[in-house]
């Protein structure tokens, strides 16, 4: 029977114009249309959004947490990518 179960969808909501869609949770739905309906009913009951994205959870690929060291740490040492790395004389403004 479990093969008849509705797939899981991840829900992303834009809370207002000018902001990114943000992951808010998941739900079950048989297809994209009803996933959007359900997301509207489940996740925007208190005017939380003006736009919804849904994506079937199956289609999300995640980085492997056990690779986190090699994936993310190398950028920690590239401090020269941040403006605070550089000294500018006191008199300079707006740089």
């Amino acid at each position: 029977m479990s093969n008849k179960e509705w797939p899981l969808w991840e829900v992303f909501i834009r809370s207002k114009q000018g902001l990114n869609h943000k992951h808010v949770g998941s739900l079950r739905a048989p297809d994209a249309t009803l996933a959007l309906d359900n997301a509207r009913d489940v996740y925007t009951r208190r005017s939380e959004g003006i736009s919804i994205w849904v994506v079937e959870s199956n289609y999300i690929h995640a980085s492997d947490p056990s690779d986190a060291d090699s994936f993310f740490e190398p950028s920690d040492t590239k401090v020269y990518r941040h403006p605070t790395f550089y000294d500018v004389p006191d008199g300079i403004k707006h740089m």
């Binding site: 079950r28 249309t33 009803l34 309906d37 509207r40 009913d41 489940v42």
Partner: protein, 251 residues
């Protein structure tokens, strides 16, 4: 002197919302899946909200100081003006969705026309309610299509629901002699226009759902004049229980 025609009309709008909202509330906690439980409750909440605005306005026209609660809870059965369709029991999910769809397909064009009403209050309520109703119609149409074109079982269930409920659809468009004065005054639309739009929506959705409109077109009516089915009494027994058992108290 109160405008009897307007009072009756607003009352029937309010009662339609109230009775369907009450019926949908029965599903809360018992839906076929959590997501749909939440969806049906949302529709119920919209309808209860509409009933409050409409019955408040009816009370205002009546001019006897009655608010939405006095009208919702303290009338006798024959004083309710909802159509028979809406007081029919929920039955299974197919029956509930078919009842919802047949009504939504009617309510949407009606509200669209009422937005243009010369009565500013009706126009304002219709404008707000139209937004809600558009979504209701979208949602119920989606379900009718899925049930109709889903499995054999769902197809049979929803076809049975259609066969059963079809007899209550003509009443949606019934007009009393009183209504005519409102049509003439540009306060409410003529039902013939609404029916054309309803028939088109129903035809296209049922076609996509692979459902057949029943050939037997024998129709029932009565709700609009206060002659109801046996089901309304039980619905009111629940709805009115507190107000009848504990009269004159504030809750």
């Amino acid at each position: 002197m109160k405008n009897e025609a307007l009072y009756n009309y607003v009352l029937h709008l309010g009662d339609d919302s109230l009775i369907l909202g009450q019926r949908l509330g029965e599903w809360c906690g018992h839906g076929p899946i959590l997501e749909e439980d939440i969806a049906m409750t949302n529709i119920s909440l919209d309808l209860i909200g509409q009933a409050m605005s409409l019955l408040d306005y009816a009370g205002e026209i009546d001019g006897q100081g009655k608010d939405h609660d006095a009208l919702a809870f303290l009338r006798f059965e024959h004083e309710y003006r909802n159509v028979l369709l809406l007081e029919q029991p929920n039955g299974d999910f197919a029956n509930t969705m078919m009842r919802q769809f047949l009504f939504d397909a009617f309510r949407k064009p009606l509200y669209e026309q009422l937005v243009a009403s010369k009565d500013v209050q009706i126009s304002a309520i219709a404008e707000k309610s139209l937004k809600e109703t558009k979504y209701h119609l979208k949602h119920s149409s989606e379900w009718i299509i899925r049930l109709g074109d889903g499995t054999e079982e769902s197809h049979n269930r929803v076809q049975n629901a259609l066969d059963h409920l079809w007899r209550y659809t003509d009443e949606l468009f019934s007009e009393s002699d009183l209504d005519q004065s409102l049509v003439d005054a540009g306060i409410v639309p003529s039902m013939s226009e609404i029916k054309i739009q309803w028939a088109e929506t129903v035809r296209s959705v049922l076609e996509e759902a692979t459902l057949m409109i029943p050939t037997n077109n024998w129709q029932f009516e009565g709700g609009r004049r206060g002659v109801h089915s046996e089901h309304l009494g039980f619905l009111l027994a629940d709805l009115q229980y507190m107000q009848r058992a504990y009269p004159n108290m504030t809750w």
